[in-house]
C-alpha cells in the first residue's frame, strides 16, 4: 500500500511538473509583455530541472537551475532593461504569419511524435543496473579522463563567447 501511495505521490508530482513546464513554456511564448515571457521561461526551466530529477540525475538538475535560471534568465532581464519596451510601438499582429507559424509547428510536432511512437526503442544490451554509475563522482571522473576533450572544448567555447560578447557590445557602443 505504501508503495502505491508513494507511486500516487510520484505520479502526481510528475504530472504536476509536466503542467508547470507546459504552463511556463506557454507563458514564455504567447503573452506580449516581455517580462511575462522571461518569468515564464524561468518557470519552464525549473520544471525541466524537476524532470531531470525524475530522470535520475540530481547533479544535472542542480546545474540546470544554476546555469539556466540563475544566469541566463537574469542576463535576459538585463537585456530587457537596456532596450526599449516593444509593447509601446507594436503594430497589430499579421494573422497569416501567425497562422503559418502555427501550421509549421503543428506539422513539426506531428512529425516528431510520429517518429517517436513509430520507432522501436530497444535498450542497449550492455546496460547494467548499477546505482554507483549515477553518482556525481562518476561524472567528475569521466569529465577529467574519458571526456576530457568535452571539458576543454566547453571552456574554450565559453572563453570565446565572453570575448565575443564583450567586443560586439563594445563596438556598437562606440558607434552610437
Amino acid at each position: 500500500m505504501e508503495t502505491s501511495s508513494l507511486d500516487i505521490i510520484t505520479h502526481a508530482a510528475f504530472w504536476g511538473t509536466v503542467a508547470l513546464t507546459i504552463a511556463g513554456a506557454s507563458i514564455a511564448v504567447f503573452p506580449r509583455n516581455i517580462l511575462y515571457n522571461v518569468l515564464g521561461l524561468a518557470l519552464a526551466l525549473t520544471g525541466i530541472a524537476g524532470f531531470y530529477l525524475f530522470l535520475g540525475s540530481f547533479f544535472i538538475a542542480l546545474m540546470q537551475l544554476l546555469i539556466y535560471v540563475g544566469a541566463i534568465c537574469i542576463a535576459i532581464v538585463f537585456a530587457i532593461m537596456l532596450s526599449r519596451p516593444l509593447h509601446l510601438e507594436t503594430p497589430p499582429r499579421a494573422v497569416p504569419k501567425v497562422a503559418m507559424g502555427l501550421a509549421a509547428s503543428a506539422i513539426f510536432f506531428v512529425a516528431a511524435v510520429s517518429v517517436a511512437l513509430k520507432t522501436d526503442w530497444s535498450p542497449s544490451p550492455a546496460r547494467v543496473a548499477d546505482g554507483s554509475l549515477w553518482s556525481v563522482e562518476n561524472i567528475g571522473h569521466a569529465l577529467l579522463t574519458r571526456y576530457e576533450l568535452v571539458f576543454e572544448v566547453i571552456s574554450l567555447v565559453l572563453l570565446v563567447a565572453i570575448i565575443g560578447a564583450v567586443i560586439t557590445a563594445g563596438f556598437s557602443r562606440r558607434l552610437s
Binding site: H11, V18, T21, I22, A25, S26, A28, V29, N37, L41, A44, I48, Y52, L55, G56, S57, M63, Q64, I67, A71, I72, A75, I76, A79, I80, S83, R84, L86, K97, G101, S105, F108, F109, A112, V113, A116, W121, S122, P125, A126, V128, L133, I139, A142, L143, Y147, I154, V157, L158, A161, I162, G164, A165, T168, A169, F171, S172, R173, L175, S176
Partner: protein
C-alpha cells in the same frame, strides 16, 4: 511516467512551442527566449535516452552539461548582438530589420 515515449512527447511539445515563438514573435528577446526552450527540449531528449537506453549513464549527463554550457555561451552572444542591433535600429522589432529585402 516510466516510459520513454512520455518524455519524448513532452520534449516534442516544448520544441513546438519554442518553434512557434521563433516564427511568430516580433520581439528579438522573445525569439531568444524561444530558442532557449528549443535547447532545453533537446536536452530533455538526451537525458531521457540516457535514462532508458544507453549502457553508460555518464555519457548522457556529460552531453547534457555540454549543451547547457553551449546554451549559456549562445545566450550571451545573442544578447550582445541584440544590444548592438538595438543601438543601430533603435528598436528590437525584428520586422524592422529588412535591409536584405530584394
Amino acid at each position: 511516467m516510466n516510459s520513454l515515449s512520455t518524455y519524448l512527447i513532452i520534449s516534442a511539445l516544448l520544441f513546438s512551442l519554442g518553434l512557434l515563438g521563433i516564427l511568430q514573435r516580433r520581439n528579438l528577446i522573445g525569439m531568444l527566449i524561444a530558442v532557449e526552450l528549443l535547447l532545453n527540449s533537446a536536452n530533455l531528449n538526451f537525458m531521457a535516452f540516457n535514462r532508458f537506453l544507453t549502457p553508460d549513464p555518464v555519457v548522457g549527463q556529460v552531453i547534457a552539461l555540454f549543451v547547457m554550457g553551449l546554451a549559456a555561451a549562445e545566450a550571451a552572444i545573442g544578447l550582445s548582438i541584440i544590444l548592438a542591433l538595438y543601438r543601430k535600429m533603435h528598436s528590437i522589432n525584428i520586422e524592422r530589420a529588412q535591409r536584405l529585402k530584394g
